[in-house]
């Protein structure tokens, strides 16, 4: 643990931001430098998602994310994004960076977030590698990529989770290269960058749509939830998966409102990256797309082909890894009970649903994230933006079904919240994150409808 290791990580993440910023320019354009600052979190997370997907492609064909490969990859992605943006005539940031106007309420919440992030950084810079999955296989895989220069056939087939795509190990190896050594302590700060990137992305996307009072409290409640505090910096794929899924779900929600095509392009990248982090990503990504398909049924002629394309692109981005699994004769990571095995274990259905529900609403795990989302959806259904409320409800119901399935389809998992016995606590993170990022829009929309009604 040295300052140079931290500086190395900063450099690594600046590279990711550079890739993401130019990618954002390519898919939507950036009208001003202030707009780039507002969407800096989105740009960074887009860079994380895109670069992660490319890392997997490179590992599949035998290229390891060494310092040279990472810099070359970033340069190629950046130049390609600039060329695409130029070709499509995207607006370029112009003018000077100015001090934007923010409310005192927003600044107060923002200040709370900054202190939170600083405190989390402080705890992360000396965090030990204690999480079982972290030292059990996520970090060993990263170390294998770093030391052995790729996906060692024997090592990756014998460790737990051989079907998990190597986005997180690739990031860990990349971080080791930029830090100058396989520093598994400082490595925790890489996950700090992911969390801060996620939070600033949500704020950037919603700051013009929701008042600070609707935007910040739900986000801060999520960030201080025990599960996030204890796991957000752990060197595993769980929270990164939640962050990517939540950003995809938010972009799809915003797309349902304004049909801006860049949002679906971004969502496709985030969904593809989520599916490249953990196998659960497939089920949750399907929930996002399915919920959007149902909500957009009235505009199916225009909306469905785009949503189908978004889903297809996201799945397509994971095909190289699936091909490698087949080529190496590795398990695909399907359910333990098999295709129709659920019917042999019907007695597990209700306990599995009850476990999923009680975990999402467990105060000691997620504080009031679940009830808050439920209230926001109910209020919006009664007097707010109906399509967003329907989307939130469908996404929650479908995600709960998927969470139920994860326990039901794996008969070896006992009905328990004990992390070493059943991963349900970690899995509910996807729903908690996705539901939270929808709350500001739901509340702001309901408030707007209510005040408009009373004005009239």
């Amino acid at each position: 643990m040295t300052f140079s290791a931290i500086l190395g990580l900063v450099a690594f993440n600046l590279v990711l931001f550079g890739v993401g910023a130019t990618s954002l320019y390519a898919i939507r354009g950036l009208r001003s430098w202030n707009e780039l600052v507002r969407l800096a979190g989105v740009a960074y997370m887009l860079g994380v998602a895109l670069t992660g997907i490319v890392f997997v492609f490179e590992l599949v064909v035998g290229l390891s994310p060494s310092l040279g490969v990472i810099l070359t990859t970033a340069a190629v992605l950046t130049l390609a994004a600039l060329a695409v943006g130029n070709r499509l005539g995207r607006p370029r940031p112009g003018g000077r960076l100015t001090l934007g106007r923010i409310s005192l309420t927003g600044a107060t919440f923002g200040a709370a977030f900054i202190v939170y992030a600083e405190a989390l950084f402080r705890s992360g810079r000396l965090a030990g590698l204690y999480e079982f999955d972290g030292w059990g296989f996520w970090v060993p895989k990263g170390l294998a990529v770093y030391f052995l220069g790729g996906l060692d056939r024997q090592f990756f087939s014998t460790l737990p989770g051989p079907s998990y795509p190597p986005v997180v190990p690739a990031y860990e190896a990349g971080a080791f290269h930029f830090m100058g050594s396989p520093d598994v302590v400082t490595l925790h700060l890489q996950f700090w960058f992911f969390l801060v990137g996620f939070a600033t992305a949500v704020v950037g996307l919603l700051s013009r749509r929701a008042h600070s009072l609707f935007l910040w409290p739900p986000l801060l409640v999520l960030l201080v939830a025990p599960q996030v505090l204890s796991h957000s910096l752990q060197a595993t794929g769980d929270i990164l998966l939640d962050e990517l899924l939540a950003l995809a779900a938010l972009l799809v929600a915003l797309w349902l409102g304004d049909q801006a095509s860049w949002r679906l392009a971004g969502a496709a990248v985030f969904l593809g990256a989520a599916m490249s982090v953990k196998r659960e990503g497939y089920a949750m990504a399907a929930c996002v797309v399915l919920a959007a398909l149902i909500v957009s049924r009235r505009q199916r002629r225009t909306a469905w082909p785009r949503l189908a394309l978004c889903g297809a692109v996201a799945v397509g981005l994971t095909i190289p890894w699936r091909l490698l699994l087949v080529a190496r004769d590795l398990p695909g990571g399907g359910p333990e009970a098999g295709g129709i095995g659920l019917f042999s274990h019907l007695d597990r259905a209700w306990p599995s649903l009850r476990l999923a529900l009680s975990t999402v609403f467990d105060f000691d795990i997620w504080l009031v994230v679940g009830p808050l989302a439920l209230v926001a959806i109910a209020l919006a259904l009664l007097a707010g933006p109906r399509s967003l409320a329907e989307y939130g409800l469908l996404l929650s119901v479908l995600s709960l079904a998927a969470l139920t399935w994860t326990t039901w389809a794996f008969p070896s998992y006992p009905i328990s919240k004990e992390p070493v016995l059943n991963p349900i606590v970690r899995l509910t993170g996807s729903l908690a994150f996705m539901a939270t990022v929808l709350v500001p829009g739901l509340l702001a929309g309901t408030w707007a409808s209510a005040t408009k009604g009373s004005d009239a």
């Binding site: 643990m1 923010i102 409310s103 005192l104 000396l126």
Partner: protein
């Protein structure tokens, strides 16, 4: 001023926390020496002959100590990336000091450390 006030709040918060933390001293990075806890009280004492960077070096020292008559020496990770060559089970500081004197007479320089759980 009204326009600047929110920014002042943000910058103040951003600076206040690190300043308060740094007021208690510069950021401190642990070193490998912090895995060494000199023995100060009786109980849970071990005589550590050395903290070495490789198992090979540690095992070589262990063999040399065994040949010199020190039985039950063990090689263990010290929790800070090094390997210690150690003898557990020393009951008191007095017994430990006798042991150190004897080891020094045979060319070794063990240090009495308090075993931490």
């Amino acid at each position: 001023v009204k326009r600047l006030l929110p920014w002042i709040v943000l910058v103040t918060a951003a600076l206040a926390y690190p300043l308060v933390v740094v007021a208690g001293g510069r950021p401190h990075f642990p070193t490998r020496h912090e895995c060494v806890h000199p023995a100060r009280t009786d109980g849970n004492i071990e005589a550590v002959f050395a903290h070495l960077p490789t198992t090979a070096a540690a095992e070589s020292l262990q063999q040399r100590a065994t040949r010199a008559g020190f039985q039950n020496m063990e090689v263990q990770p010290d929790g800070c990336g090094l390997f210690k060559v150690t003898l557990h089970g020393i009951p008191t500081l007095a017994v430990g000091r006798d042991f150190v004197r004897e080891a020094q007479s045979r060319g070794f320089h063990p240090i009495l450390e308090q075993e931490k759980p």
